[in-house]
Symmetry: none
Subunit: 182 residues, 4 copies
DNA sequence: TATGAATGAGTCTTCATTCAT
DNA sequence: AATGAATGAAGACTCATTCAT
């Protein structure tokens, strides 16, 4: 019976998002296959992580596509983006941490993502929606940080999961400072 | 020549903040001492991390004290807080990630920190400075996420270090959405 | 090629009986397998010793069964017992020494063995074969001591191996004092 | 304040008799001195054990002297011997086990002891007190085995300490087989 | 002389990876 | 193609021993 590579990746993503130190054995067991089979599909641990990265990036890119970042106001686009990214929050958090460890060069996919998200913020600036002093690059990093950190907080039950999107969107859009018009 | 425990902790913090997977050997070498000596000072890897945690918490608490969170507006206090926390940003990031791994109970020091930071946001709400829909607990987590993520981004040279404080403060205070009065 | 757990135990028993301080590496090499494989079969050094204990106890119990301790005179039974126990003398010696080190609770198998050997001595007393002033418990300990000590002496070539059984049996049965009727 | 070498040896003997795996640190602490001081007095662990051996042998030789092995019947001499050896039983047991580990040549003192004890048994044979088929060398080994094993059994509370001498003497002299004249 | 501090050598143990079926 | 078994490389940890005061 042929093992579904995608199914394995899903299981690995689910496990590693929760426990980033899980061993290859644990991943294999979680995927319902043997250790050696896992290695047949992914040349090694790093290869597995790279595959997860690839997959994660694709997933996020799909979310970017679905969010139609160029449509309507930047605010609306940002709301759609965060809503679409939420399901991948745990994986994203894992990958960002993991990337921090890799000494080698970084998957170029990230640059592509960064560019698109940055472009959204830039569009917002150009439209007069967003401030100019907070650079798009900064905001992009901030978005990653917020998504990752909050994913963990939700996982550990320190904050309610249902507020995940709302919180991040509102913080990014409106900040903690009460704006005058509200 | 007697090894200064604090000096070892400083070296360990510096190294682990940069490379969280550093070996005990590497930590020892970074501290300029032998492997065994490191073990004489800290019973094991976990003990070392716990000590770093203790130290990190104390450092941050000192920053909280120095920031006089109860003085003046909440905004001013938040600015002072973030300025004071900056030097510990890398360590904080490491510890948060590490904490994610610990299955056992969490150092109660974190609760104390959380409580004080949350109190600041709450004070801001009560003073009418901050919105009510973003809960203090959420904002505290967000603060951690922003500090940690941006520390990494600065470390990797993706964003300029000099903007660290400004960025976080402004995002938290004003958000990306341009407020009307600006 | 699948490693036979029992074969590993045999090799370990042979080695440790001779050199109780043998390394896990040495045990592995003696068994013709790699370090890690040894750990796959036995969770750790203590686990290995425990397994040897289990095996040793079983072996000795089998010897007790084969000796039919309840048949014939106690003397005959004791002769059969010692003959049957001889092959395990080295292992027994190792285990007794090792047990001396364990702080934790002792394998209950030993109590079972003690009980059966003691019962033999008691039966001898009841039959009028053995003196009453030497308690069965003492005699059991003495038996262990004699078997272990003599196993070492034989191993080191201080005494001739062929006399092993004879010596112990005669000492236990007749003692050093010449009895009148001889 | 000058450290009393003999006092250190006494403490080491007491500790190691009880826990043969005690570390040099533990020995030092038990002797009330620092680690380094212990090394100043004994070049290394082996040297310490050798010194204990020396001391133990001397102690036992003194017991042999005090027992006046050549006086009276061999039986009387044996009784005196065992009574005199009892205090050193634990140490003797430790040393015998330790000797089993040493690969190098054995302290010649043991040969001297063996010779004297063997001589006693031989004298008993020549006097017609002891059987001829149990060789003096065997009996000497047996004596060690009994003393050591029973010392442990007493230490662990498996047998009553007060019967120690009586048991060994009676077993060696009379054996478990009821002699006719009793 | 006595000592706490420092350390290298050695052991156990884990884990990613390869091999034989 | 899939797998359990086997394994070497690598890391944590201990302990006898040396060093500086």
């Amino acid at each position: 019976m042929s093992v579904d590579r995608d199914q394995v990746l899903r299981a690995a993503a689910a496990l590693l998002s929760r426990k980033s130190t899980a061993t290859m054995d644990e991943v294999a067991r979680a995927a319902g296959i043997g250790r050696a089979t896992l290695h047949r599909h992914f040349a090694g641990r790093e290869a597995l992580v790279r595959a997860l990265e690839e997959r994660g990036i694709q997933e996020i890119e799909a979310a970017l596509d679905a969010a139609r970042l160029d449509d309507g106001t930047a605010e609306e686009a940002l709301r759609r983006l965060i809503a679409g990214v939420e399901p991948a929050a745990g994986l994203l958090s894992f990958l960002v941490t993991e990337n921090q460890l890799f000494e080698g060069e970084v998957n170029e996919g990230w640059s592509r993502l960064d560019a698109r998200v940055s472009a959204l913020f830039r569009r917002g600036q150009e439209r007069g929606e967003f401030r100019f002093d907070l650079t798009p690059a900064w905001l992009t990093e901030a978005l990653y940080g917020l998504v990752g950190s909050c994913a963990w907080a939700v996982q550990d039950g320190r904050v309610a999961g249902k507020d995940f999107q709302y919180m991040i969107v509102e913080l990014l859009l409106g900040g903690a400072r009460r704006s005058v018009e509200k």
